[in-house]
């Protein structure tokens, strides 16, 4: 044994020492990790933006094709109130569409779990919801719901619902067989089993589906504006994007696009936070000390 007995290094101290931070305790480590976790994406995006800016300047890419980040920034500042209003309108529609898709999607998946006839009957068709080209049904939607908000929310819902249904279904049907039998032992009814067992078991899957849907709801709202118009209301990002494209305001077009992406990201991060919060006590994906 090379290491002298007197040497008072502990395993955890070793850990700390390696990273060059004094061994104050576990909370420091956690705190430091949080800093890294937040800083990394920021550094990453700054790095990307720098490359973009440089590339565009060096290659002399015309602005109408690919504006530099600085151009986009200027355009965004100039049209800021419009951008904000457009983003706000899209946000409202996307949020409603997303919430409805979560509610309805979960309900459909639960129904499919509860009755095999429903499951067999509609399983193959649920996918149709997301493969219908929205343009085709838009006239019907607009005629039923009128142009504007209602239709946009509905289209956002249509676009965003399938991942919820599909993942919830997967989760519900992945439930541990032994726990199902346990519930059966206690003569739990179908619905009780679903609520007390299958639903919580499926939660990580559902939340995964919601992560996917969150971005899709935003894009759904934008597509909704393309196909269903804005009615009498103020337009959202969909209108701004179309209009900017036709007017060749490429920088503003990118500003709108980035606003759309930020909106999607905000949705996503909210769902991710909810997911982490909900699962932190028990699910591997949220405990994750092994991976972070």
């Amino acid at each position: 044994m090379m290491q002298a007995n007197g040497q008072a290094t502990t395993t955890s101290v070793n850990m700390m020492a390696k990273d060059g931070v004094p061994p104050i305790g576990g909370s420091t480590k956690k705190h430091r990790q949080l800093v890294y976790k937040t800083a990394t994406p920021v550094v990453f995006i700054l790095f990307l933006l720098a490359i973009w800016q440089l590339g565009v300047r060096l290659l002399n890419t015309p602005k109408y094709l690919l504006p530099a980040p600085s151009d986009i920034w200027r355009a965004a500042l100039k049209g800021f109130p419009d951008l904000l209003q457009a983003a706000g309108n899209t946000f409202a529609a996307a949020l409603l569409g997303f919430l409805l898709s979560v509610l309805l999607g979960t309900a459909v998946a639960l129904l499919m779990m509860a009755s095999k006839w429903i499951r067999w009957g509609i399983q193959p068709y649920a996918v149709v919801l997301q493969t219908i080209p929205v343009v085709a049904i838009a006239p019907l939607v607009v005629i039923w719901l009128g142009p504007g908000m209602n239709s946009i929310v509905f289209i956002s819902l249509i676009v965003a619902i399938f991942p919820i249904i599909s993942n919830t279904n997967l989760g519900l049907s992945s439930t541990d067989r032994n726990l199902v039998q346990l519930m059966r032992m206690y003569k739990s009814g179908t619905w009780t089993t679903v609520w007390k067992l299958r639903f919580p078991y499926a939660l990580p899957y559902m939340l995964g589906g919601m992560k996917i849907s969150s971005g899709m709801a935003v894009i759904g709202a934008i597509i909704g504006e393309f196909v269903a118009g804005i009615g009498g209301g103020k337009g959202g990002l969909g209108m701004a994007i179309t209009s900017a494209a036709v007017q060749m305001q490429t920088s503003f077009l990118f500003a709108c696009t980035i606003a759309a992406s930020l909106l999607g990201m905000a949705f996503y991060l909210s769902v991710a936070a909810i997911s982490h919060f909900t699962l932190r006590h028990w699910h591997e994906s949220a405990i994750g000390s092994d991976k972070d």
Partner: protein
């Protein structure tokens, strides 16, 4: 879907009757073959036998968790003919990872619609019986293997079942804890005229606890011998050192080998 036929209540004190039960799994494994067994109400019966001989399979079939390939399973769930009165301790702890220990134990009560306050009190009492009252708010992943099994036992006891199936419940416990739970189980059993079917790989445990020990053999799973343990309850430590005890243990051990 529970396909085990429940019988109407009659004067006859038979709780479970197994008639010529055969179980073949889809992959062809013949887990049970020609099983006949009748268990009286209030009896404490143990199943012992080598690993893989079909103890768990038979227990599950009795409890209606699995279906026999052929044969007849008849169940009479307690004198009150109340179907809610059966419980099962699985070979694995089978806890819900998203529930705290207390909520896991309270689950059967929750399903039966017991009000929240009563539920908590009874679950807590049940946890105390297995020595885990201090861990009520922990999550299963924060427990040791033996602690998880004890939570599972507490869950089975909390609903005060009339019929209790236990699949190696004490296998993961040290002898001290195990002995404490033996006494606990026997006291519950004698107080409430409970019928217990108990799987164990410890012949000592089987002899100490049960009124009859069913010795099984493997390939295919069959009953080799049913050994009655005539010793009266309550059984004491003296019984464990008595010649009768040793004799029974030897008899069963020999049967098994």
């Amino acid at each position: 879907m529970n396909t085990t036929a429940y019988l109407e209540t009659t004067a006859e004190a038979e709780a479970i009757r197994i008639h010529d039960v055969v179980k073949q799994y889809e992959n062809g494994t013949l887990a049970l073959s020609g099983i006949h067994l009748s268990i009286r109400e209030g009896e404490f019966v143990s199943l012992v036998g080598p690993s893989g001989c079909g103890k768990s399979t038979l227990l599950r079939i009795m409890a209606g968790l699995d279906q026999a390939t052929s044969g007849q399973v008849q169940l009479q769930a307690g004198s009150a003919a109340n179907k809610e009165q059966a419980s099962f301790v699985f070979q694995e702890a089978n806890l819900m990872p998203w529930r705290t220990v207390l909520a896991n134990v309270a689950l059967p009560l929750e399903i039966n619609g017991v009000p929240s306050e009563e539920r908590k009190a009874r679950a807590m009492a049940s946890l105390e019986k297995v020595g885990l009252a201090g861990y009520a708010n922990s999550y299963p992943r924060q427990l040791s293997g033996g602690m998880k099994m004890r939570v599972s036992i507490a869950r089975a006891l909390v609903s005060e079942p009339k019929l209790l199936f236990m699949d190696e419940p004490f296998g993961a416990l040290d002898e001290m804890t195990r002995h404490r739970l033996h006494e606990e189980l026997l006291s519950i059993w004698s107080q409430s005229k409970l019928t217990i079917v108990f799987v164990t790989h410890s012949v000592f445990e089987a002899v100490y606890l049960s009124g009859r020990v069913v010795a099984m053999e493997a390939h295919p799973g069959r009953i080799k011998q049913v050994v009655p343990i005539e010793e009266a309850y309550p059984r004491t430590n003296a019984f464990m050192t008595s010649p009768v005890f040793g004799e029974k243990v030897r008899l069963i051990t020999n049967t098994l080998s």
